[in-house]
């Protein structure tokens, strides 16, 4: 009797283990299916060397954005002012770059992270709902973009900045960021506390976690990410305008969702969500154009996939033990 009970428990544990592995692997399976689908439907055009380069190039920004946002998403937060932060940092940064390119780059990073810091302080200490605060900051920054750009549609970057357009350097830089975020998110006290806040803020406070400090730091990192994205966008597009970074926050959110990120925060947010999500998002965009889908069909496919992904991730996460 006792032996039977023990064997049942072992079996149950094993099944739970397999189920959890499957749940964790679901976004990756989704990505594999999408890659397979577009590879077949485009007769292999998706995987040509040239197209792979394009995919890598296009996912760079979403990877940076996703990686820099994991702490905030883990806390159950979101920064909807990312787009205007990028635009603001880029326009102000490019003006400084005309004096000195190096100082301009550093200034762009500082501007982005300062806005993030300010957002974090307001969020943590004023207690404003994160979405409302983001919207308010978004309006505020957006309103300044036009005067900052000298009432021009766009400002070209100094030629010297374009010399930084080195893809190898960019990918090495990304790799360093990935390693740093992977270890700090998974193994540092800060990363664990972020997940704990997302799982239950009151319980975190009661267990002695400095919630406010963590919130400020998460926004600071998100802001710094905006600075990095602003610099790379300037290098890639050769100009700064009011449309710089437009929609970036939503694309990052969508790519994280496609990567299996649970929007409620907590343990459901992983570093791999950012990586898988960025690849899925870009492959989807690229593949739909490659297979000649009409613009309407592209929107419908994307809409269906996003809804499916949100439903699956939330439902499966609920079942995970």
């Amino acid at each position: 009797m006792e032996t039977n009970r023990n064997s049942n428990i072992i079996k149950l544990k094993q099944n739970l283990k397999y189920r959890n592995i499957l749940i964790d692997a679901f976004p990756l399976l989704g990505l594999i299916i999408i890659i397979l689908f577009f590879t077949i439907i485009t007769s292999g055009n998706l995987l040509t060397l040239n197209n792979l380069k394009i995919i890598l190039n296009q996912m760079f920004l979403y990877l940076i954005g996703g990686l820099g946002s994991v702490y905030l998403y883990a806390q159950g937060g979101i920064d909807v002012s990312m787009a205007s932060n990028i635009g603001f940092s880029a326009i102000l940064g490019v003006r400084i770059m005309y004096q000195h390119v190096g100082i301009g780059i550093i200034a762009t990073l500082l501007i982005g992270s300062s806005i993030g810091l300010l957002m974090g302080i307001i969020y943590a200490y004023a207690g404003i709902p994160v979405f409302i605060q983001g919207l308010a900051m978004d309006f505020l920054l957006k309103g300044t973009l036009y005067p900052l750009s000298g009432f021009k549609a766009s400002i070209p970057v100094p030629d010297r900045l374009l010399k930084f357009d080195n893809k190898y350097f960019a990918w090495i830089f990304l790799l360093i960021i990935f390693i740093f975020i992977f270890f700090t998110y998974n193994f540092s006290r800060f990363g664990k506390e972020c997940r704990s806040i997302g799982a239950g803020e009151i319980a975190s406070i009661q267990s002695g976690i400095k919630v406010k400090k963590n919130k400020v730091l998460a926004f600071f990192i998100s802001g710094l990410t905006c600075g990095i994205v602003a610099v790379y966008t300037l290098i890639r597009t050769g100009s700064a305008s009011q449309s710089t970074g437009l929609g970036f926050n939503f694309n990052v959110m969508l790519s994280l969702v496609l990567g299996g990120c649970v929007l409620g925060g907590g343990n459901g947010v992983k570093v791999r969500n950012a990586v898988i999500g960025a690849v899925t998002f870009v492959v989807l965009q690229n593949g739909l154009v490659l297979c000649g889908a009409s613009a309407r069909a592209q929107d419908i496919v994307k809409g269906i996939l996003f809804v499916l992904m949100i439903v699956f991730t939330s439902k499966m996460y609920e079942r995970k033990v």
């Binding site: 689908f37 490659l290 079942r319």
Partner: protein, 429 residues
């Protein structure tokens, strides 16, 4: 329960693979063609290109000879058109402005043996444009037509570089290039840049102001583009000139994009204007009327001010015919939807080895002005049905079909574009 979940996942995977298989079978020919085209392009050597050019020249000469020998055939468009793939930015949801553009482009594509591929750019950002261009090139297009000029100012040098590297022809629409600036220099120095068409925004806004000015309107409000938008800036200039000419006052303006892109927003804006400016006797919608006009009209009717406030707009709306008939709308200017079509004609001639010109074409895309119910009915008949230029006319714009067709004919066609021109051509005059 665990087993049930596993079963569901496996079933889903199997279903996906089955759908994959069916979809792949259905589209294999098309994608194989695309792949072939791409591979052919990659393998093309300089020598082959020279030989190809010679063959094309001979082909044109042959065509000329055969056409002169058989005049009847030439008038019917006997030339064989080379198939090619054209990438285009998605003009957006079907409405009175983008609808005729879709219709004309699709008719032209069908007539000229062109496969149209659309790229939907999600964010309208500079980065989104570059990604869309790269994706189109990757899909094997031979040429690209870009839309929404104001949003791509500043990234034209990057687009030029990408297209030149991929040896893909490219054109711009609704984009004014200012001589001497980076965008202009990048375009005219690109080996593969073909053309840009742009509308005269100062003129369109000035026309709207003059419609109100002629009616004796003195106190107006404006619904316009967000600050910093190049198109919006030029339209503001046109309105300003009109205000001075007719001694009018601009009481207020609304540029909030969260309001100016929807009918509900239009209603909210108009209600605010009516309450804030009792002396207002005119309103100009300086763009995006396709979104806001019905809301504005609804607010005017609800407040009983349709006889007091005069209204003029830029960009066509699907109910404009009714509004002009009822008198609530005094004038609407739009119909500047044929720019991409002009670019397609230039590109198609290049692809067939008979370019209309070696120069870069920078040309103004004319507006259609509607100030009466009769005008609107004419536009409904020709513009909204995609018959601004008929299939027969399109065939005759190809040198392969019509060796006498020159760049001067092409430029005159653009210059002549008006409501009268559309009617005249349709009636065969």
């Amino acid at each position: 329960m665990k087993k049930s979940l596993l079963t569901k996942i496996v079933a889903l995977l199997l279903l996906s693979i089955m759908v994959l298989g069916i979809a792949a079978c259905g589209s294999s020919k098309k994608t194989e063609d695309a792949k072939d085209t791409k591979e052919e392009k990659a393998e093309k050597t300089e020598k082959e290109k020279v030989e190809e050019e010679k063959v094309e020249e001979e082909k044109v000469e042959d065509n000329k000879d055969s056409i002169s020998e058989k005049e009847d055939d030439s008038s019917n468009g006997s030339g064989e058109l080379k198939a090619f793939k054209l990438g285009m930015m998605d003009p957006g949801a079907w409405n009175a402005t983008s609808g005729p553009l879709y219709a004309q482009m699709e008719l032209a594509a069908e007539t000229l043996n062109v496969e149209l591929v659309y790229a939907g750019y999600d964010t309208n950002s500079a980065e989104g444009h570059i990604a869309a261009v790269q994706n189109l090139i990757s899909s094997g297009v031979d040429a690209i037509i870009l839309l929404n000029g104001p949003l791509i100012h500043g990234i034209i040098p990057q687009i030029a570089e990408i297209c030149d590297e991929a040896e893909v022809y490219w054109s711009l629409s609704w984009t004014k290039l200012i001589e001497g600036n980076n965008d202009y220099n990048a375009a005219v120095n690109s080996d593969y840049f073909v053309s840009t068409t742009y509308e005269n925004d100062v003129y369109s806004a000035n026309w709207c102001t003059s419609i109100l000015g002629e009616k004796g309107v003195k106190n107006i409000a404006e619904i316009g583009f967000e600050a910093g938008n190049a198109t919006g800036d030029m339209r503001d200039q046109g309105i300003q000139e009109g205000l001075e000419e007719y001694d009018m006052i601009l009481l207020g303006e609304e540029r909030d994009i969260t309001l100016t892109m929807s009918s509900d927003g239009g209603k909210t804006i108009m209600e605010r204007f009516i309450n804030s400016y009792p002396e207002m006797d005119g309103l100009i919608i300086a763009g995006m009327s396709q979104f806001v006009l019905s809301g504005v009209v609804s607010a005017m009717e609800a407040n009983g001010v349709e006889d007091k406030i005069s209204l003029s707009c830029i960009d066509f709306h699907e109910f404009q015919t009714d509004y002009l008939k009822s008198g609530i709308l005094d004038g609407i200017i739009g119909g500047h939807v044929v720019g991409p079509f002009y670019s397609l004609i230039l590109i198609a001639n290049i692809m067939n080895g008979t370019p209309l010109t070696e120069d870069k074409v920078i040309v103004e895309d004319k507006f259609i002005e509607l100030s009466s119910h009769e005008d609107a009915l004419i536009w409904d008949e020709y513009g909204n049905t995609g018959n601004i230029y008929s299939s027969d006319e399109i065939e005759q714009m190809m040198v392969v079909n019509n060796p006498d067709y020159t760049i001067d004919d092409f430029m005159k066609m653009i210059e002549d574009y008006s409501l009268e021109d559309i009617v005249s051509r349709a009636e065969g005059n």
